[in-house]
């Protein structure tokens, strides 16, 4: 029993390596059940009138792309399929550049034209300042140019979109991995004063916290973590990285559960001995 308490942690690390690498190479194909959160988010986006303009806030970078990039792609597919228009922007450097080639591909797939059906305003420095300015005047906030430096006045889509307010946008979808993001920027700056509906695509570890905002109506729906992204990929019908990650993720969760149980068995057994 003492041995159960004292496994060298490097053995555990080795098992994690074996599980993740092994199952990525040989997937087992666990069934994906659509959860209520992903369904609600999907339905909300489906319910937008065709031609709605939607803000995609890319509030993450390479570190969290495993969870959030698949979500962005699934949502972009859905929006283009529904003939909605997309404005991409964000407060995290490298976020908007990261998604640019992927969204460009999807736009091509649906025959959407840059500057008409969608635009990438790029990242701007200033964190919450930028968002604050965007709610007042998009043109000024972006210094009048898109992510490659083209003047915004040359794009038709910008004629109908002046600021991040309910007057021009039907929905803002925020893909957030931390600060700056939803609770510290979008809720106080965009939702509280303006009541623009927010939809939150979040990393798994913010789910428990963001449920409070969902309950309070500060966000209309959420896509929760990698599992949510996988369900969303299934709903939209574009399988990708999120679906492929569910097998190793599941086995990882199972392994951690077993370790918690094992650790506790060891704990109770040795505790009994001491007493």
């Amino acid at each position: 029993m003492e041995a159960l308490m004292n496994i060298d942690r490097r053995w555990l690390f080795l098992v994690v390596f074996v599980i993740v690498f092994g199952i990525l190479i040989h997937p087992i194909g666990l069934p994906i059940v659509i959860g209520p959160d992903a369904q609600k988010a999907y339905d909300y986006v489906q319910g937008l009138p065709a031609g709605s303009v939607v803000w995609l806030g890319i509030e993450f970078n390479q570190s969290s792309k495993g969870e959030l990039l698949p979500m962005v792609l699934a949502v972009a597919n859905q929006l283009f399929k529904n003939n909605d228009k997309i404005v991409v922007s964000g407060m995290w450097q490298y976020g908007t550049e990261l998604v640019q080639p992927y969204i460009e591909n999807i736009a091509q797939k649906y025959g959407k034209q840059y500057g008409v059906d969608w635009i990438n305003l790029g990242w701007r420095p200033g964190n919450a300042t930028f968002l604050h300015q965007a709610t007042q005047d998009l043109n000024a906030a972006c210094a009048g140019v898109d992510h490659t430096g083209q003047p915004l006045s040359s794009f038709p889509i910008m004629q109908s979109v002046k600021a991040l307010t309910p007057d021009y946008f039907k929905l803002a979808i925020v893909f957030d991995a931390g600060t700056p993001g939803l609770p510290d920027a979008y809720i106080p700056i965009v939702y509280e004063p303006l009541h623009l509906p927010l939809l939150d695509g979040t990393i798994q570890m913010s789910v428990q916290e963001n449920k409070n905002y969902l309950q309070a109506g500060q966000i209309v729906a959420m896509i929760p973590g990698s599992a949510g992204a996988a369900q969303y990929e299934k709903l939209v019908g574009v399988p990708g990285q999120a679906l492929a990650s569910q097998d190793p993720l599941s086995l990882g969760a199972l392994f951690v559960t077993l370790l918690v149980i094992l650790g506790n068995i060891g704990y109770f057994a040795t505790r009994g001995k001491k007493a």
Partner: protein
Amino acid sequence: MQGFDWGTFVGVLFTIAVWTYLYKENPIWRVAEHIYIGLATAWSIGYYFYSYVKPTIMDDILTKHNWLYIVPVILGLMMYLRYFPSVAWLARYPMSFWVGYGAGYGLAFSFAPMLTWIAQTFVKLNSFNNIVLWLAVVTGLMYFFFTVNRENAVVKYGALVGRYFIMVGLGAAFGNTVLYRYNLFIDRARYVLGFLHLIK
């Protein structure tokens, strides 16, 4: 080896260098650690220079003559006075601005979302779910009483129940975080496997 992806190759090497730390602290990891800190700090310099320093001076001050932007330049430069003992105290000026701004941000933005949360707790207590939500908010808050006498039965038992709700919240955070962290590693594993052409 036509079209060999040198970039990803280097990336994979550094990825493995970090993984060696899991076995034991070793010279490979130390090299990676020091390169990492050096590059990260250097990257921030370039980033601050092109995002703020240059535009402030070249555009805002010299071109648009927006003289108010001289204030942040002076504030920022005052920080360097800390290296001159006789005037080092002047470095407190920019720090007071930063702290005051942070406090102001707290004063300005803390209460509006809080009032929404309070208002959303006005739920009809006619279903089990609503009662649980309501109790979680009320007893969870009771846990944080600092001065009210804990002998008071309502506060005492409220705080006790609150502790259990807090444990549910922390448990949920733990469970979710496990999944998130595994997903980070899966993403790195995919990066390495993708380079080796073992997955598509």
